[in-house]
């Protein structure tokens, strides 16, 4: 059975919002010496999930260092790529290695710097060196993680232009015009 002073020290340290020196604890408890109680608590908590430690003359409870991994947990937050990002990714996949200026030329739109960052953060795009032309622009290529995510054995598995056209993905005809007989 824990004695009352030890219990009081224990509760005081537990409830305190900041580490306390032995003097502060003693003052809080009416001026009694607390060194023995602190030693007792250190022994009581040894090997538990929580321990009593002294840092710079002040005492506080902390979770055992070997359990740090328990207190941090990773959680996946799935997010869909933006339309711009997936367009840039597609251009890199079909044209790699490709520079940013080339990507912009193909898209016909400026590419926000963040878009390439997102793709690199996702692990799908990597810097593949520099092109040996004036200005030595950085060139980008896809990664094996890209192939894995999209279930491709290699880039050759990407459907070719002819297949895209056959699938109607390159049909330039204005849909509104060709649909007239429906009314």
């Amino acid at each position: 059975m824990t004695d009352d002073l030890t219990r009081a020290v224990e509760a005081t340290l537990f409830a305190s919002e900041s580490p306390l020196s032995a003097e502060q604890i003693a003052r809080h408890l009416g001026g009694v010496p607390v060194a023995a109680a602190l030693a007792q608590l250190v022994a009581d908590y040894a090997g538990r999930g929580v321990e009593l430690v002294e840092r710079g003359g002040c005492w506080h409870f902390q979770t055992a260092p070997d359990l740090a991994h328990v207190l941090r947990r990773e959680q996946d937050a799935p997010r869909r790529l933006s339309r711009a990002a997936i367009e840039v990714l597609a251009i890199i996949a079909y044209h790699e290695p490709v520079s940013r200026a080339e990507i912009e030329a193909i898209r016909g739109v400026q590419t926000a710097r963040g878009t390439l960052d997102v793709l690199m953060e996702a692990g799908w795009v990597r810097i593949a060196g520099r092109r040996e032309v004036p200005g030595r622009p950085t060139i980008y290529a896809t990664t094996t993680a890209f192939l894995a995510h999209f279930g491709l054995a290699s880039r050759r598995d990407l459907p070719g232009i002819d297949e895209l056209r056959a699938a109607g993905l390159l049909d330039p005809v204005d849909i509104a015009l060709s649909d007239e007989s429906a009314d």
Binding site: A11, F14, A15, S16, E17, S18, H60, F61, Q62, T63, L71, R72, R73, E74, Q75, D76, A77, P78, R79, R80, L81, R83, I86, E87, L89, A90, I91, A93, Y94, I106, R107, G108, V118, E121, A122, W124, H149, F150, G151, L152, L158, P159, I161, L164, A167, L169, L170, D171, P172, V173, D174, L177, S178, E180, S181
Partner: protein, 249 residues
């Protein structure tokens, strides 16, 4: 006003939360279990209290007066010889009032017992400086192969010079409709349904061709009317449009 107890009563006027609260307080002064209080005494005490408050010209909320009237009625009903026509009976009403007082009293006691418990932040404390459980949210980007391919298709389409192709289709031009109409009107017919004049269409006309012919024919008829070469007439809205040629004398 000589009884200091009365003073306390009056001074506490704002302290009551309605007439039921005052009744409960008065009932508790009888110092017996609420199930055994004398209801007639309680009614007298309440009415007496209200009367003194009025004598002192204290402002009483209306519901105190309503309760006083109701209690006066209850008291007279209880004292008068039993009238079997009264429904509910005065005894039943008295029991209900007692039940209400008991319930309110029970809740008041319960509230006091709740307040007296060891309360978090007053008697017991949680940990003062918890480390906190960190949940690292890791963004996992997703996209499907279809998204990727469709996006590339979109880019390619945007790159390609835009070619708008209007499908070849059977139309009757305004010129040919004008020509037809002038011919038909020239034959010296009287008023004729415009649609009849367009009957030169093939026997099984394509629906779109017929529509085109009608539209062009109508436009041609308007043009001829504008030029003074034809007259148009319609009896009512949506009635057949009739047309006849105007020939210079």
């Amino acid at each position: 006003m000589t009884d200091p107890g009365d003073d306390r009563l009056y001074l506490a006027l704002d302290g009551w939360e309605g007439p039921l609260d005052l009744l409960l307080d008065l009932a508790r002064r009888q110092k017996v279990d609420l199930r055994q209080i004398s209801l007639l005494d309680l009614v007298d005490q309440y009415l007496g209290y209200i009367a003194r408050a009025q004598a002192l010209r204290l402002e009483l909320a209306a519901d105190y007066l309503v309760m006083a009237a109701w209690l006066a009625y209850l008291k007279s009903a209880l004292l008068l010889p039993h009238d079997p026509a009264l429904e509910p009976s005065p005894e039943e009403l008295a029991l209900r009032l007692q039940a209400r007082l008991q319930r309110l009293g029970a809740m008041r006691d319960a509230a006091a017992r709740l307040l007296a418990r060891d309360r978090l932040g007053r008697d017991v404390w949680p940990r003062g400086a918890p480390e906190g459980l960190r949940i690292d949210r890791q963004t996992r980007w997703t996209a499907s192969l279809y998204d990727l391919i469709a996006a590339y298709g979109t880019v390619q389409v945007r790159r390609a010079p835009t070619v708008h192709v209007v499908r070849d289709r059977a139309v009757v031009t305004l010129e040919s409709a004008l020509e037809r109409l002038v011919q038909a009107l020239g034959a010296g017919r009287g008023w004729t349904d415009l649609r009849a004049l367009l009957a030169w269409l093939p026997a099984q006309p394509d629906a779109r061709l017929a529509r085109s012919a009608l539209a062009s024919g109508f436009a041609a008829a308007l043009e001829l009317a504008r030029q003074g070469r034809a007259e148009l007439a319609q009896d009512t809205a949506f009635a057949p449009l009739r047309v006849r040629g105007v020939h210079p004398a």
